[in-house]
């Protein structure tokens, strides 16, 4: 099993009030699954995504990723896990504005400590795989929204992570470009990648194989997607 969540809770201290974002999540995700996490705002889906992406640690419960216990690692170990195991795709792309596409894709490899020549080849390959072989030296502001998101996907792929974690990846795109992005995810899934998608749009979730619906910090339903394949 790739991901095993056992009774995950998360509390935030807001002033003197404790807010419970997750009240006990139990969920397994296997290799090469394609999962959508859905829920209204405030349902805890962002918190869950942060925990899955090792940006945050749960208040209690256990998170096993590739049978490694993540739940109580320190910041630097988490950074290494994020570097090797997780590829993030954000709604707002989050590319570095002053770096070109190739440099953006190289970024995770820098923190992995790879020498420049090796980084370049790997980043080129990743960009080529999302169809941007001819846009490598363009800066983000010289690219369309769809192209930017493809750069971000290439960056997520470049380290061969265990999970690709996409947070509303089509949220800032028109529907046609959104569809293109979803096609890329489908291709990645078919190539054997594990993809977790956070979204609040049904038709996006329909692209996946499995939909996990959250409400008030709990899993409301966990079901196979009917529209998918």
């Amino acid at each position: 099993m790739l991901i095993q969540l056992e009774n995950i809770t998360k509390n935030y201290q807001v002033g003197t009030v404790t807010v419970t974002a997750l009240q006990g999540i139990r969920m397994d995700i296997d290799h090469n699954e394609y999962v959508a996490i859905m829920g209204p705002s405030g349902s805890g889906k962002s918190t869950l995504m942060n925990i899955l992406g090792c940006l945050d640690t749960p208040s209690s419960g256990s998170y096993l990723l590739n049978n490694n216990r993540i739940s109580d690692l320190d910041d630097d170990r988490l950074a290494e896990i994020r570097n090797r195991e997780i590829g993030f795709v954000f709604q707002t792309f989050n590319l570095l504005p002053r770096a070109n596409a190739l440099q953006n894709v190289e970024l995770p490899l820098i923190y992995r400590g790879l020498p420049a020549a090796k980084r370049r080849t790997q980043a080129r390959d990743a960009l080529a795989s999302v169809g941007l072989a001819d846009r490598m030296d363009h800066k983000p502001n010289e690219l369309s929204g769809g192209q930017r998101q493809r750069v971000a996907i290439a960056r997520a792929l470049v380290n061969n992570p265990s999970i690709i974690l996409a947070d509303e990846p089509t949220g800032n795109l028109d529907s046609r470009t959104g569809d293109e992005i979803m096609e890329i995810f489908e291709g990645l899934h078919e190539a054997g990648n594990t993809i977790i998608l956070v979204t609040h749009e049904e038709y996006i979730a329909e692209h996946t194989d499995r939909i996990v619906r959250l409400r008030d910090g709990l899993i409301e339903r966990d079901e196979a997607a009917n529209g998918g394949h």
Binding site: N50, G53, L55, D56, D75, D76, A79, E80, R82, N83, R84, F88, F90, N94, L95, L96, R98, A99, L107, P108, I110, Y111, R112, G113, L114, P115, A116, R155, N159
Partner: protein, 410 residues
């Protein structure tokens, strides 16, 4: 290997950031530039002065004592005390020479200022020195041509003169001065030698001197109201302190001073000048360090301030870097390198300006200034010290950012 890559990447990122904010980066370095320029220029000035001073006072001879009515260094109104002292006489100098066991040579000297003439050529402001053949040793006299005064010249009070090189050049631009009769303050003297060129000593032209036998001096220009300065060359430099004691004792005996009386003469030496000089430059050093420290502090705070702004502006970038695997140390290093690079820019500009300034100073003013290599290394030290010290707070602030909040930052 990993750390090398990390530093290299950090340098590229920092360079990129500095380039995108050229104006801001340059303004930030102003404080550092001013600090470094000030410190290096003042240090260069002090170094130049030191060199000039050492050159100059070496003409006094480190193994020569000068017994005189006035000390070289006087404090406050003490001039009036010294003025009332008895004049030192040639007789006393002769007795001193007889009695001293540590003196290699003893030369009494008298000075006066008279015009010098040869035919149409006249020279004002030349200094006439009356002395003995011993002066050859005490002053390290080297003749350019001709000869110095001999014991015979002195004992017979012969009207002969040895010229400083500048006097010789001005009076005899196209002819050989040897054997010519010139007029010193209205009295005829025959030129027997010319001294080699010596340059200036604190603005005094050392080549505008003319040397005559001391007896001839006294008979032409007066013996009364003049106090003799006795130059004593010690047999070897290490005997200097001992000789000072001996000469002081002998002078007291010669002058009949009882035990309760204070010395009514001064024993001057080069070392004392050096001490005074060092006290003076000590003040300069303090000014240099003070001004430098303040402007470097201000510059450092400027850097810290701009880095804090930069961290805030780049919060999202930091979030992205952390999300894709940057550890705290990576972010810390990145901002420290940026800080050191701003500093390096400032110090480089500062050093270049200082070198230029030193050149300008030494060309346009009589002040010498010399920049030495260690100053540049000192600058390098500043780069790291200031960069790291003032960079550490903003850098650790960046490193501690929570990636989730940083990614959400607008």
């Amino acid at each position: 290997m990993k750390i090398v890559i990390a530093i290299w990447e950090g340098m590229k990122i920092a360079f990129d950031a500095l380039r995108s904010y050229k104006m801001r980066s340059t303004l930030t370095t102003l404080g550092i530039i001013i600090g470094v320029t000030t410190v290096i220029t003042i240090v260069a000035l002090i170094q130049g002065l030191n060199k000039a001073f050492t050159n100059q006072i070496s003409s006094l001879g480190s193994d020569t004592l000068y017994i005189a009515k006035f000390p070289w260094m006087m404090e406050g109104n003490s001039f009036w005390v010294y003025r009332n002292r008895r004049n030192i006489t040639v007789k006393e100098a002769e007795k001193l020479a007889d009695l001293s066991t540590l003196a290699q040579a003893v030369a009494p000297t008298l000075y006066t200022n008279r015009p010098i003439k040869f035919q149409e050529n006249q020279l004002e402001g030349a200094i006439i020195v009356g002395t003995t053949e011993q002066y050859l040793i005490t002053a390290g006299f080297v003749p350019e041509y001709g000869r110095f005064l001999t014991a015979n010249d002195v004992s017979h009070n012969r009207p002969v003169v040895v010229l400083g090189s500048e006097i010789a050049e001005k009076l005899f631009p196209n002819s050989d001065p040897l054997g010519k009769r010139i007029t010193l303050g209205g009295h005829k003297f025959r030129v027997i030698g010319v001294r080699e060129k010596r340059g200036t000593f604190f603005g005094n032209n050392l080549d505008a001197y003319a040397y005559i036998p001391i007896g001839a001096f006294q008979s032409r220009f007066g013996a009364q109201f003049r106090s003799v300065e006795i130059a004593v060359k010690v047999k070897s430099p290490e005997l200097l302190d001992e000789a000072e004691l001996e000469l002081t004792g002998l002078m007291r005996r010669i002058r009949g001073l009882s035990g309760d009386k204070e010395n009514d003469f001064a024993v001057n030496k080069q070392v004392a000048l050096q001490d005074t000089y060092q006290r003076l430059t000590g003040v300069l050093w303090a000014v240099a360090i003070g001004v430098g420290a303040i402007s470097l502090l201000v510059g450092g705070i400027g850097i810290m301030n701009i880095l804090l702004v930069s961290v805030t502006e780049r919060t999202r970038e930091i979030g992205v870097r952390k999300a894709v695997g940057a550890r705290r140390g990576d972010i810390l290093l990145q901002f420290l390198i940026e800080s050191v690079m701003i500093c390096a820019l400032g110090v480089t500009i500062g050093v270049v300006l200082a070198i230029g300034l030193a050149k300008v100073i030494s060309v346009t003013t009589p002040l010498p200034a010399s920049i030495q290599l260690w100053v540049v290394f000192l600058g390098l030290g500043f780069v790291f010290a200031i960069g790291l010290f003032f960079g550490i707070y903003p850098a650790s602030k960046a490193a501690r950012l929570n990636p989730i909040e940083a990614l959400r930052y607008e």
